[in-house]
């Protein structure tokens, strides 16, 4: 069998392969800077021991799971007090507890969320105290 338009076919295949693998080779070798969530807020500056509800390693990996637990506990079971590992009791409240210290949502929450393209829907209902007071 003889292919009359072998040139066009090969060109088409090459273009297809380039486009299909674009996302795998584009940007290799380049490194983008990691997000730097800022802890520079008045509430955190005043703290003697700079500690979140749980330790930093747990919070940075599992904050969303902790918040899910808070959500279910507060809404469905009506329990609004969270006893942390070290015995401190916190009120389960995103706007009240989390954002009280992390009052810089744009420099704290959003930096990582934008970097990993996570779009949590929390703030479509829960208000950001700093924005409301404006």
């Amino acid at each position: 069998m003889k292919l009359n338009n072998i040139g066009k076919i090969v060109a088409g295949i090459v273009i297809f392969i380039v486009l299909a693998t674009f996302f795998f080779w584009y940007g290799t070798g380049k490194s983008s800077s990691l997000p730097q969530p800022s802890l520079d807020t008045p509430a955190i500056a005043q703290m003697k021991e700079k500690r979140c509800v749980e330790d930093k390693a747990f919070m940075s990996i599992n904050h969303m799971k902790l918040l899910h637990n808070w959500r279910d506990s507060a809404v469905r079971e009506g329990n609004r007090n969270y006893t942390a590992k070290n015995g401190n009791v916190y009120k389960m409240s995103l706007s009240g507890t989390c954002l009280e210290c992390h009052s810089n949502k744009e420099q704290f929450c959003d930096r990582c969320h934008t970097y990993v393209a996570a779009k949590p829907a929390c703030f479509s209902c829960h208000s950001i105290p700093a924005e409301v007071k404006k």
Binding site: N62, S73, S127
Partner: protein
């Protein structure tokens, strides 16, 4: 070549095993299990919390002043209820309704005119047998142990079955983003979002803090009385035992818990 019976059974057996294998092996490399450190001790409730076994409300509408909107204003302010300015999209937590609309079977043209013309405060009845809870496909609406019928807005998918099921029209849908229509956002209570149904929550968030519902504290005439029906000494029980009272459409079997003192 056609396989013989023996080979066929072997192949069939191996295929079955290969299908079952992942389900059997899964526990070994199971989904990561995370325990939230404080999850087990969440039960600590504060001492100031108001506790009841069957929350209910009595509405003494003889005391209710005509044209007064104190309870409505207080509720809307606390709960970030939007004002769309369009009766079709109205979000209702507590609102006023004519006697004939609330008690259609008890109403007739020869009732006192003042009664017929007066707007009576109505809200979610926090039914003991709530139809909205039964129809909710995601269990976003549920009844708590203390009788409050409440919504988990996180779970609401906006199907509006509950709106169809509620015989009292106590549920409203956010057809638009409500935030621009809230005059002043209260940061202590979340707003809702587009595509979510909402309703009165009997000020559950205030009861935790030991405060009575916003509408009750706002009423200067003390026309709204909130209390625990299972407590024989409660003010609400005393009031209901002294005065004749009605419940809205009780014949439907929803066991409404808002009592209207006539």
């Amino acid at each position: 070549m056609t396989p013989n019976r023996r080979d066929f059974l072997k192949i069939a057996g191996m295929s079955t095993l290969s299908l079952i294998a992942p389900a059997i092996l899964r526990p070994a490399f199971a989904k990561e299990k995370l325990s939230i450190p404080g999850a087990k001790t969440n039960q600590t409730s504060s001492s100031q919390q108001l506790k009841g076994k069957r929350w209910a409300m009595a509405v003494d509408f003889a005391k209710c002043r005509r044209g007064c909107v104190d309870c409505i204003a207080a509720c809307h302010e606390v709960h970030n209820v939007p004002q769309f300015g369009n009766p079709k999209d109205e979000i209702k937590w507590i609102w006023r309704e004519k006697f004939a609309a609330i008690f259609p079977s008890e109403s007739h043209p020869y009732l006192p005119e003042s009664l017929q013309r007066q707007g009576i405060p109505v809200l979610c009845n926090h039914c003991a047998n709530p139809p909205c809870v039964k129809v909710c496909p995601t269990k976003a609406t549920f009844k708590r142990a203390d009788g409050i019928v409440i919504m988990d807005y996180h779970r609401c998918i906006g199907c509006r079955f509950c709106m169809a099921a509620c015989p009292y029209g106590a549920r409203s849908m956010n057809y638009r983003d409500p935030r621009p229509f809230i005059s002043k956002i209260n940061p202590d209570f979340p707003t809702r979002t587009k595509g979510v149904v909402e309703k009165c929550n009997f000020c559950e968030e205030r009861l935790v803090q030991g405060i009575l519902p916003a509408c009750v504290t706002a009423c200067k005439e003390k026309a709204l009385v909130f209390g625990d029906m299972e407590d024989p000494k409660a003010e609400i029980r005393l009031l209901l035992s002294k005065h004749f009272n009605l419940r809205r459409r009780a014949h439907l079997g929803t066991e409404p818990q808002i009592y209207y003192i006539v």
